[in-house]
Symmetry: C2
Amino acid sequence: MIQDDKNAAITIHDVAAHAGVSTATVSRALNNSRPMSDELRNQVLVSVQALGYRVNLLGRALRLRRTFSLGLVVPDLENPFFSALAQRVSRAFIDSDIDVFIYSADNDIELERRAIQAFLGRQVDGLVLIPCSEIESKDNVLLADRTVSTVQFDRLVLSVPTRYVGCDNGHGMNLVAEHLKKNVDLQRQPPIFIGAGPASSSGHQRLSAFKKAMPEAKTLLGSFSFEWGQNAAHELVDQGITSGAIATAADVIALGVIAGVQERGYRVPEDFRVVGFDDVGVSFLAHPALTSVRQPVDKMTATIVEMVMNSATGVDNVANQAKTIFKPDLIVRQSSPLRKV
Amino acid sequence: MIQDDKNAAITIHDVAAHAGVSTATVSRALNNSRPMSDELRNQVLVSVQALGYRVNLLGRALRLRRTFSLGLVVPDLENPFFSALAQRVSRAFIDSDIDVFIYSADNDIELERRAIQAFLGRQVDGLVLIPCSEIESKDNVLLADRTVSTVQFDRLVLSVPTRYVGCDNGHGMNLVAEHLKKNVDLQRQPPIFIGAGPASSSGHQRLSAFKKAMPEAKTLLGSFSFEWGQNAAHELVDQGITSGAIATAADVIALGVIAGVQERGYRVPEDFRVVGFDDVGVSFLAHPALTSVRQPVDKMTATIVEMVMNSATGVDNVANQAKTIFKPDLIVRQSSPLRKV
DNA sequence: TAGAACTTGGTAAAGGTTTACCGAGCCCTA
DNA sequence: TAGGGCTCGGTAAACCTTTACCAAGTTCTA
């Protein structure tokens, strides 16, 4: 059984031997950890080139007790909203010396735990979690937080006191309610909310905020999925509701709603106004363009970067449990325009 | 500057001391690497529990020269097609002892290189790459392949002789051509192909296969994006083309095309037939449901698993450059149904 | 010119594992 | 009872780095 280790890995010792210096010198040349003559440094770098040496980050991490890496655990990459968030988080770290590794929990609490264990065992410097469930993920988040600097993102397990970055779902829903009151005739037909169950904090918060802002609303609850929006729309039409204002808990639901009402022969925005939430990941696929609550993702990811970098250098134990909540905006587009159609 | 290392990491030595045994015994108890009395094993496990010990995978990897990890580099997670593929690859490894870590290159050759370096430095056991570009990614793929067991997936840099798993784009396009010939009246209006430029191997292959199968087709080339499909559709309509058959190089383009023609007041499938390619990631968002070439993703990811596991155990240096190409199927749905509408 | 102050290179320990090898104790047989 | 063949625990080396400390050489000052 031949290990195809390719070429049996060059170490710093090989470089040192090739350059005729000690390993300390090689390390110092590569890391600029102490001033040295240009001549000597070049001598080392030439050998590095010649041998094609690449530092073994495992050895370095062991010694430094630091890996320059961050783990990002997302509930489900097949959901374009989460994959977009993942991308944006990675991108936010591009100017840092930290590598972001993504692990998908595939909507499975067990797998979420495995992801966290995988990262913890590999000694990541920090962990960013979008927990699968507001309740069932508790132990997982706890495990993470006990071991390493942890930030929850987008979704929150409130019972574990970690830092958190998210958006003000209540404010977002208020904007939606205001918009509908101003621009839709709600006399004929009270507004309808098509949401997700309260298993995740976002589903939970958006639902209760909308109910509070528009107590007269009819609410239908399902999951954060296209199919659910589609089914709910069919259901409405089949019940004889053929126009009105529909708010949703997420863009992906709104897309389903639009498809669903169109399949039944109704039009958006002429018959139904539809409003989404998130404006991340899938909203660009909507037709007509989707009025949606936009989360300020860039600000949010920038905050995550700040939190991670600070806790890596241990600056800020003060605000270690701080929740940073951003106010979202309403972006008005064709699916629910400003004037009454 | 306080390192908030939480609780300063329990090592195997702490466990050994607590249990009153040597580190060798602890390691053997945890890894079952040599038979031992149940009594002793329990004694060790109790201490492990009591201290909350978790193995440091860095130390282990250093010693074992194996990390039980796989790096997956994708071009762009904001593209739902790639994020779905990433999810599916991870999922395929769920029953193995290997953890899959995902890194997004954000469509940037430099970042793709950084991703590969990050994985190589961390000594992953294997690398799965979906290269950004057929040409510009060459050096990156080469770097990977020189160092570790590498598989290219979906897209191919042919000039680097690595293993590859993909689908037969030519065959897929032949199926599309056949379908259109049988079910659409192409006399009135020759078929139209809305594709992507030849920078990626999939764009390239799909284009040339379709042109070969239907030389009379009009072709428009852009990018793998919704916007491009939308713009291309507008362009067609604005040129006075108001019906016909449209094949595309990807579902995400097809979605854009559907949206585009609908925006101009035409219907799918009554006016335009639209066919996608991939049937992964976004096709479920299409309305009407999208006729598409389905890649057999499960078979493909299973093959990747096999390749990675084999090369990890060094079984198969023979087929080390094997290209495994799967035949896709055509899934007929409403956007281009079987009978002439 | 003695020696302080600085520069610059090397030695070796430490970081957390796993495991080859050793040795001690036991049972069994000749 | 000598010693062969077990079982089972421990010691220490190795995996690859970085860096505290040391030592030697140089420059400068008093």
